[in-house]
């Protein structure tokens, strides 16, 4: 562990590699977390199958890639497929738990997460897999730093998608309805907004965002049916750290988590990767609690 640390000090250029990789992977984390922030903020559903939707998007891309369709073209397919999937899941499950207490939605989506992970395990098999884009890998600094072109493409795609969603939320009628519902669902209903449709659309949109994130992750990293829970926890870490009303915070926290994982993976070893994510979750929650405790009583 100390050896790895001193290595970083001796060869500062390795930091660039870690930071770059953190940036690329963090962008996808931020994307999935933004989806969670959306459903959490608008409909108060803690979606524990967030990560499994990400993985599903990844598997769609991988399957298409095996059939000769380039992963980048898998992106729109994953988005549309997951949008429809989210729409159905809302009708079947979410619409029945949305008005209930918070643990209900948490547990119902946790059940769904188990179903999804196991189904993917049956359908796609338990192997760790990736979607090969066939792009070149460039080297910088005399081969000390490698950058796969697909990672740059993925970052650009993530940025484009995020921009589209943000513009959509600001400009479109549905986006405005979503934001109105998030602020006060009762008032929105009184003003003639069909909140049920808004919720349905929001959940489907979240699923689509997850699908996009999964597609990007399958191109630049690896997927496996049971990786979902870790992605879910990542999204929770990011949203809890940033707060769900804070888009800029979500992006920042996403990159932060990307860096943190890269560094802990390098310094402590790859087997600590999951421990890092979970550990960060606990730390973030504890810090939040200390912040609240500083007040005599949390103001509601």
């Amino acid at each position: 562990m100390l050896d790895n640390l001193s290595l970083l000090a001796q060869a500062p250029v390795l930091n660039i590699q870690l930071l770059l990789d953190g940036l690329f992977i963090g962008a996808t984390f931020a994307l999935a977390a933004y989806g969670l922030a959306l459903v959490w903020g608008v409909m108060n559903v803690k979606n524990l199958c967030q990560g499994d939707m990400v993985i599903l998007g990844g598997f769609i891309t991988v399957t298409l890639a095996h059939n000769g369709i380039h992963p980048i073209f898998g992106l729109p397919v994953a988005i549309v497929a997951l949008f429809v999937y989210g729409w159905i899941v809302y009708r079947l499950i979410i619409c029945r738990v949305i008005e209930r207490d918070l643990f209900t939605s948490l547990l119902a989506t946790f059940g769904l997460a188990i179903v999804m992970a196991q189904s993917m395990n049956l359908i796609f098999g338990p192997e760790v897999t990736t979607a090969d884009s066939g792009f070149e890998t460039r080297t910088l600094f005399d081969g000390l730093v490698t950058v796969a072109e697909i990672k740059v493409v993925s970052l650009l795609l993530a940025a484009t998608l995020a921009t589209i969603v943000i513009v959509f939320m600001k400009r479109s009628r549905m986006g405005q309805a979503i934001r109105a519902t998030a602020q006060d669902a009762r008032a929105a209903r009184v003003m003639g907004i069909d909140t049920d449709r808004v919720y349905q659309f929001t959940y489907a949109l979240n699923a689509a965002i997850c699908g996009a994130a999964g597609c990007l992750i399958s191109m630049i990293w690896t997927i496996q049916p049971f990786f979902g829970i870790t992605h879910s926890i990542r999204a929770f870490v990011i949203v809890t750290a940033a707060g769900f009303g804070n888009l800029f915070g979500v992006i920042l926290a996403g990159f932060g988590l990307g860096f943190a994982e890269q560094y802990s993976g390098f310094v402590l070893g790859a087997q600590f990767q999951q421990a890092t994510v979970v550990g960060l979750l606990v730390i973030v929650l504890v810090v939040r609690q200390i912040q609240q405790a500083r007040h005599r009583r949390a103001v509601i």
């Binding site: 007040h295 005599r296 009583r297 103001v299």
Partner: protein, 248 residues
């Protein structure tokens, strides 16, 4: 004039940019009934919340029996003997009335081992007596959540009495109660004051009630203390009338 039991000194509280309380000072004398009135949004409930430790205050000092309590949390303040009721009545809905009463015994001196004690017959008798006092004896085995709003309000009052407080802070005790029952409630509040010797600090919108009951009244408007005096003085104070009529 008797000793003040609550002393609020230049307390300020704002939420974001909105000033809810600005340098409010008031005193609640021991053994008396003190009223707190003011138009909607004048900061009455905020002041209550500040006193009972529900949120931190920005500036000022709050003393209970000479002890600074502005840094203490809700539970500690409650255990000192300063108990409040809520504007939106709060009871334990899935417990029956007697259970609601049993768990409301004073926790002031509770040691760790007391957590595992069974309620004593004395406690039960007292709970029944207090339920009888508020007229809920016949419903003592009903789930509190199945009571009507007015009955829940009475139950909450009985629970507060069960806690044997020195000061009881009531947030709109008559709101939502059937007008025909209000006289009965006023009578009970008075009796709680005289018979049990509980000091009362009451937020109330119903002028008839508060003018009838209170020994002295404070009036808030726009987060500031507007007037203080006996019910007659307040009733005839032009500033108070203006505040209620919306004039500035």
């Amino acid at each position: 004039m008797s000793q003040p039991v609550i002393e609020v000194n230049r307390v300020s509280k704002s939420f974001g940019g909105v000033v809810a309380n600005h340098e409010i000072s008031l005193e609640v004398p021991q053994g008396k009934i003190t009223g707190l009135i003011g138009p909607n949004g004048s900061g009455k409930t905020t002041l209550f919340n500040s006193i009972v430790g529900y949120h931190p205050i920005d500036a000022g000092s709050i003393k209970f029996k000479g002890l600074e309590i502005s840094e203490l949390n809700v539970q500690k303040i409650a255990r000192l003997g300063l108990v409040r009721t809520f504007q939106q009545t709060r009871i334990y809905g899935k417990l029956d009335c007697m259970q609601n009463m049993m768990i409301s015994i004073p926790h002031r001196t509770a040691a760790w081992i007391d957590m595992f004690a069974k309620p004593s017959p004395k406690t039960q008798a007292r709970a029944e007596q207090l339920l009888d006092f508020v007229g809920l004896y016949a419903k003592r085995r009903l789930l509190a959540g199945s009571l009507s709003f007015g009955q829940q309000k009475l139950l909450e009052f009985a629970m507060a009495l069960m806690n044997e407080p020195e000061v009881l802070m009531l947030d709109e005790p008559t709101a939502g109660i059937n007008p025909t029952l209000i006289n009965g409630l006023i009578d009970r509040l008075r009796r709680a004051n005289t018979e049990f010797g509980i000091t009362m600090f009451i937020i109330e919108h119903n002028m008839r009630v508060i003018m009838n009951m209170a020994d002295s009244i404070y009036c808030l408007a726009h987060g500031e203390l507007l007037a203080h005096g006996s019910p007659e003085q307040i009733q005839n104070d032009q500033r108070v009338i203006d505040a209620y009529l919306g004039a500035h």
